[in-house]
């Protein structure tokens, strides 16, 4: 498992797509973190006389219907999207792993109950369920995150359960039991560290998906509310101007594309690097 930075650079040089994905992700994270340094304006500063201007040196991506700088808002949007994506995935994976490993290790009744619950959630299309949950809890970015999180949990439960079932029969896990180690220690020490690879891949791919779903929810007005500079919400307001003022909707859309694609390429790359068998 020990992979030196040198080796990673070597692998990236050979695998162009992973390299592109990594660059995209690093770029998005960088602009998100450094947003106040990069941006010339305040994201919510309105300047009505300068509304709906085409891209220029003063406004790289033009301005919106309130005269706000689209470039600034898109950059600040990266912050929101990354935070949303990361927190959804980390929380969903955390909860999912917890129940998944219990389900796989304990088996029997507990397993059946947990699996029935995940099947129930999985039987809905994830977008529809997320939509219904948010609508029930009330629109807002936090509620959207919560809803997407709930929808994503079963994926991790299933993944973990499968891994644990396979690893439970490994000789070293059985050996650990004959050495008198407690079940909790066996799960923490022997099982979880050995299923990190697929988990990491699933999580990286999941960030892109989570961002996409959260943006979609904002687009239909259930997620982030104006004036929050969220990409999906921006496109939602921009769509009535899309034909005459293409830049307003195009740039947030482009950034959603870069982010989601970046995480997907990176996830595929991580899978290739950590699991040579999947590279066929």
């Amino acid at each position: 498992m020990s992979i030196s930075p040198k080796k990673i650079i070597g692998i990236l040089e050979q695998n162009t797509l992973t390299l592109i994905g990594t660059i995209m992700v690093v770029f998005i994270i960088f602009i998100g973190v450094a947003a106040p340094l990069i941006c010339p304006y305040d994201p919510n500063l309105m300047n009505i006389p300068a509304r709906l201007q085409a891209p220029s040196l003063a406004h790289f991506f033009g301005t919106d219907e309130m005269g706000r700088d689209v470039f600034t808002r898109v950059i600040y949007g990266a912050r929101i999207s990354i935070t949303v994506g990361l927190s959804i995935v980390v929380i969903a994976a955390g909860i999912g792993c917890f129940f998944g490993s219990i389900s796989g290790y304990a088996g029997g009744k507990i397993d059946r109950i947990i699996m029935a619950a995940t099947d129930m959630v999985l039987s809905f299309p994830s977008m529809v369920l997320a939509l219904a949950l948010t609508a029930a809890m009330g629109p807002g970015l936090f509620n959207t995150m919560l809803a997407v999180c709930i929808v994503r949990i079963p994926l991790y439960v299933r993944l973990m359960r499968g891994q644990v079932l396979a690893l439970k029969e490994m000789q070293y896990v059985r050996a650990a039991r004959t050495f008198g180690e407690s079940p909790s220690k066996i799960v923490l020490r022997h099982i979880i560290p050995n299923c990190l690879t697929p988990l990491l891949v699933q999580m990286t791919l999941g960030i892109g998906d989570a961002i996409l779903i959260a943006s979609s929810m904002s687009f239909i007005g259930l997620g982030a509310q104006p004036p929050t500079p969220e990409w999906g919400a921006m496109i939602a307001t921009a769509r009535i101007y899309a034909i005459d003022q293409w830049w307003y909707a195009a740039f947030p859309g482009l950034f959603i594309l870069i982010t989601v694609m970046g995480f997907n390429l990176l996830g595929d790359g991580i899978r290739d690097i950590l699991d040579p068998r999947s590279k066929d």
Binding site: M170, T178, F179, E181, R189, N194
Partner: protein, 328 residues
């Protein structure tokens, strides 16, 4: 000498999808301090199940039906709860396995894994545990223990890993070591070294050893006592020399006859002799002796009546109708 382990009339049935499957029938065994008991038999004869029964780690866990007693230093293990058993496992009863290649967790260093086991059972600081791990590696004749401690399992050969396993197993000075075919996956020279190690550990610390194997050559080298198992039953128990030199049970005879030999046999027949048929499925109902369908000496009574246990001098015992016939 004192008995560390004495199993009396142990019968085990597993309850699974196929219903209740009897896997061990009325087994009695004894292990003395500093002695090595070999259990031999074909695959599927219940050797490993006996080991897991002692450890209370039978597949299916607490759902398996256990009858009889397993007395370990005066305490009946069949009456212990799961929590009480974890205090025995590793500390009092340690186990090593057939596949050293997969017995160690691939993501942690040897040192970390050894320390883990040591600290589970002994109140030691991380430093003391590491020191003990190093000493244990020296005891199993690993040349530079310091380097091996910081190695990952994939960096070691099979023989080295089996040594590490033995070091872990012995690290809490168990009273009983169960070795489940520990040399099967290793080549012959390494086998010899591992056997030597187990013997050394046993004689030096007085640890009792149960050595499970299907290799009669290895068993004859190592064991003081031999128990021959067939289809969940013990058919013959005795001192290693007695059992191997003068086998009484037809199954033992057949097993010994199946060992390939380098020299041509006297009768000029050089086809490898084998036991006809297969070990019966545990669910198969067999009245009488379970070996009778494959036995070349089988008599009428063998198919009708379970052979009684006959006890002779020097701890020799036998389950066979044939012996009685000869006596009569």
């Amino acid at each position: 000498m004192e008995n560390i382990l004495s199993i009396k009339n142990l019968s085990v049935s597993l309850s699974g999808k196929r219903g209740i499957v009897p896997i061990l029938h009325n087994i009695s065994l004894e292990v003395e301090q500093g002695h090595i008991l070999g259990i031999v038999g074909e695959s599927g004869s219940g050797k490993s199940m006996t080991a897991f029964a002692i450890n209370q780690l039978l597949p299916g866990g607490r759902k398996s039906i256990v009858d009889g007693s397993i007395s370990f230093c005066g305490e009946d293990l069949t009456e212990k709860t799961e929590k009480e058993m974890t205090k025995f496992r590793g500390k009092e009863i340690a186990m090593i396995f057939q596949e050293p290649m997969t017995c160690l967790n691939p993501v942690f260093t040897i040192g970390r894994q050894m320390k883990d086991v040591i600290m589970t059972h002994q109140k030691k600081s991380s430093k003391e545990a590491e020191k003990q791990a190093e000493e244990m590696l020296e005891k199993v004749h690993i040349r530079n223990p310091n380097r091996v401690l910081s190695c990952y399992p994939y960096e070691l050969s099979g023989g080295m890993r089996q040594r590490v396993m033995i070091a872990i197993a012995l690290s809490c000075s168990p009273k009983l070591l169960i070795a489940d075919e520990p040399t099967t996956a290793l080549d012959v020279t390494i086998q010899a070294q591992i056997i030597f190690l187990i013997k050394e550990a046993c004689k030096a610390t007085g640890t009792g050893v149960i050595f499970i194997s299907h290799d009669l050559g290895v068993v004859s080298q190592l064991c003081d006592t031999i128990a021959v198992m067939y289809s969940g039953q013990i058919v013959e128990v005795g001192r290693a020399a007695d059992v191997l030199a003068h086998p009484q049970h037809p199954y033992t005879k057949a097993l010994l006859a199946s060992i390939p030999s380098f020299t041509p046999r006297e009768d000029g027949n050089d086809t490898l002799s084998a036991i006809p048929g297969m070990v019966p499925d545990p669910l198969e109902v067999i009245t009488g002796c379970r070996f009778a369908p494959r036995c070349s000496y089988a008599m009428d009574i063998c198919h009708k009546k379970v052979p009684p246990l006959q006890i002779f001098a020097d701890g020799y015992s036998l389950h066979c109708h044939l012996q009685k016939e000869v006596e009569n």
